[in-house]
């Protein structure tokens, strides 16, 4: 029996199964390290119970080269055909563990040798230059904690959805790299350059056109994430990072930037990442991620008990800082201000919490965020009405959780057609 299976069973039936029963044949050679009276160190066989039921009676695992997760913690990304979603309901604080950062790529994760990888910047520049990864690391570096969210990040339609399944295509890291503006200065971007093409070194050779203004403002050429080099899934060794913008524009495995006086209308910014609005039209180059929040606790498939419950969740805006999160515990009739945990950063996930005394009534709990531009997260109905459509990219609706009489929590799917 695999260890994770054992852990799962013991978590589910702790009173019925002892560890001894479960471990059975696994722990046949149970030993302890014992000091004899003469100072010798010997190994002595001991009963399994003595070891496994009292960690103070066994020398623990020695220091290791790389940290581990407790076998009791099972937190994984949820796979789909084309992506994998972050387990938002498992997170504490605002940083996404790097290996749980959501993934979306268009032709798999490329295997790139960082010693061979280069970034070419050319087009409307005074001097086209090629930078190695080592070159990029020599420039003045910046670090910034901010989210990346895929603009196709909303699922609904049924009540058995977790936060991860509804909107797990958002994650947050500390990104470190060189400001794109620093590189713009180095190559001498010409005044007539209004767009740049960012191109990845994956098998999709993925490309997006980005206004040059964004590059001067806050784009980062990132080579590190949460204190270590980027993970391959996040663009190792170099990615573009556009704070607050739809994730697809933050091109991973960045190999080329071309300055241009017009956008390119690549496949990813025409046939994809465009969304329906009124009068049969579609929105193009919709970069900013609108403000959004979601209660991550309690959520499906949890079951709550009567009494005090700290409702917890995440809120963010691609347009700046979160200024307010409101929580409703009566299906949206009344709203109360939630506490925001520091730090409250620009274009970043912020943690909110609200203390609620649940008396056992059937109800719905919801959250809505307001950002510093005065934008308040809409309902799904408001989004449908404003756009005259029934979905697409850039959906950020208020998420409601139904609390049943027995304390079971379900997502509240909404339909208007």
């Amino acid at each position: 029996m695999k260890l994770d299976k054992i852990v799962e069973i013991t978590q589910r039936y702790p009173e019925k199964l002892s560890r001894r029963k479960l471990l059975g044949g696994l722990a046949t050679a149970a030993v302890a390290i014992v000091q004899t009276a003469k100072g010798q160190t010997i190994q002595k066989a001991v009963s399994e119970n003595a070891i496994y039921e009292d960690p103070t009676k066994k020398f623990g695992t020695p220091a290791g080269e790389i940290g581990t997760r407790s076998p009791y913690v099972k937190s994984v990304k949820k796979l789909s055909d084309i992506s994998s979603r972050s387990p938002l309901q498992d997170f504490y604080g605002i940083i996404t563990p790097s290996d749980l950062h959501f993934e979306r790529h268009h032709a798999g994760v490329p295997a790139i040798d960082p010693n061979k990888h280069e970034l070419l910047i050319h087009g409307l520049v005074e001097k086209p230059l090629v930078f190695t990864v080592a070159d990029l690391k020599r420039f003045p570096s910046v670090s910034r904690i901010a989210f990346i969210e895929c603009s196709g990040n909303f699922r609904g339609g049924k009540d058995n959805l977790t936060p991860q399944e509804i909107c797990g295509l958002t994650s947050q890291s500390e990104w470190t790299g060189v400001k794109l503006s620093t590189l713009f200065n180095e190559v001498g971007v010409k005044p007539n350059a209004s767009w740049f093409l960012a191109e990845g070194g994956d098998a999709a050779v993925m490309t997006r056109s980005i206004p040059v203004k964004k590059g001067w403002e806050d784009s980062i050429i990132a080579y590190a994430q949460n204190g270590e080099p980027l993970r391959p899934e996040q663009g190792f060794p170099v990615r573009l990072f556009n704070p607050g913008w739809e994730g697809n524009t933050s091109v991973k495995w960045l190999r080329r930037i071309e300055l241009s006086d017009a956008p390119y209308y690549t496949r990813e910014e025409t046939s994809k990442y465009t969304e329906p609005i009124k009068e049969g039209k579609y929105r193009i180059f919709s970069f900013d991620m609108d403000a959004r929040s979601i209660i991550t606790f309690p959520s499906f498939p949890q079951q709550v008990e009567k009494g005090w419950i700290e409702i917890r969740g995440l809120a963010w805006s691609g347009r700046g800082k979160v200024v307010k999160v409101e929580v409703s515990t009566d299906a949206g009739k009344n709203w109360q201000i939630a506490q925001l945990n520091d730090p409250i950063l620009d274009k970043a996930h912020v943690q909110f919490r609200y203390l609620w005394q649940w008396k056992g009534e059937e109800t719905e709990i919801l959250s809505r965020v307001t950002d510093e531009t005065g934008y308040t997260q809409p309902t799904l109905k408001q989004l449908f009405e404003a756009r005259g459509s029934d979905g697409g990219y850039h959906m950020n609706p208020i998420t409601a959780w139904q609390i049943k009489k027995d304390g079971k929590v379900f997502f509240k799917p909404e339909t208007f057609k």
Binding site: P128, T270, I277, R283, I284, G320, G374, A386, R387
Partner: protein, 196 residues
């Protein structure tokens, strides 16, 4: 006498200036400015890109035709390539298939209209650019420019956009008018109270 007056004026000015610096925002701005002053106009990192290096990587194509290579293609030859390299993912005639239709189905069974090259792609150059950089899915970047021109001609013809005999090359492709050209509008969201 005038000297003294100047001195008094100067000292009161400097007092005024230092008083404004107590404001934290002002201090931050001043710090940032002095930091920027120390950045050299060039670090001298990186090496100059040669034209050969640029040409090897510069595969993008713009709607105005910038970036299109030499060569040309016709639909009939594209059909042959499509049937051997593309049909498994995109279906017979570009309809159906597990990885999406490329040609609008004239008798759709699904209520929701499938987005295809014919009804959703605003520029014909994007077909060339995308097929060359990313297709076929199991062998990306393996097609010659000539093959990409043939496939582009085939896909445009299958969508009823160009004539069967039309020759597609660097001159003709940017002139192809796509049915979806006026379908798109720039993002009009700008934050604030209004939901868009």
């Amino acid at each position: 006498m005038r000297k003294t007056q100047y001195f008094i004026l100067f000292s009161s000015l400097s007092f005024f200036v230092s008083a404004t610096f107590i404001d934290t925002n002002q201090v931050k701005v001043a710090d940032r400015e002095s930091f920027l002053d120390t950045i050299p106009s060039s670090f001298g990192y990186g090496r100059k890109a040669t034209q050969a290096e640029i040409d090897r990587l510069d595969i993008d194509v713009r709607p105005d035709g910038k970036g299109l290579p030499k060569g040309e293609g016709i639909s009939a030859k594209g059909k042959v390539i499509f049937e051997s390299k593309c049909v498994a993912c995109h279906g017979v005639g570009g309809i159906g298939g597990p990885n999406g239709s490329l040609v609008a189905n004239k008798t759709p069974t699904d209520k929701r209209r499938e987005k295809t090259i014919g009804n959703y792609w605003p520029y014909a150059t994007t077909v060339f650019d995308y097929v060359r950089r990313a297709m076929p899915f199991n062998e990306p970047g393996s097609l010659s420019n000539e093959e990409v021109y043939h496939l582009t001609a085939y896909l445009l013809n299958a969508n009823g956009i160009i004539d069967e005999k039309a020759v597609i090359n660097a001159q003709t492709l940017p002139k192809v008018e796509m049915p979806a050209k006026n379908l798109f509008v720039p993002d009009d969201r700008k934050g604030g109270a209004e939901i868009r």
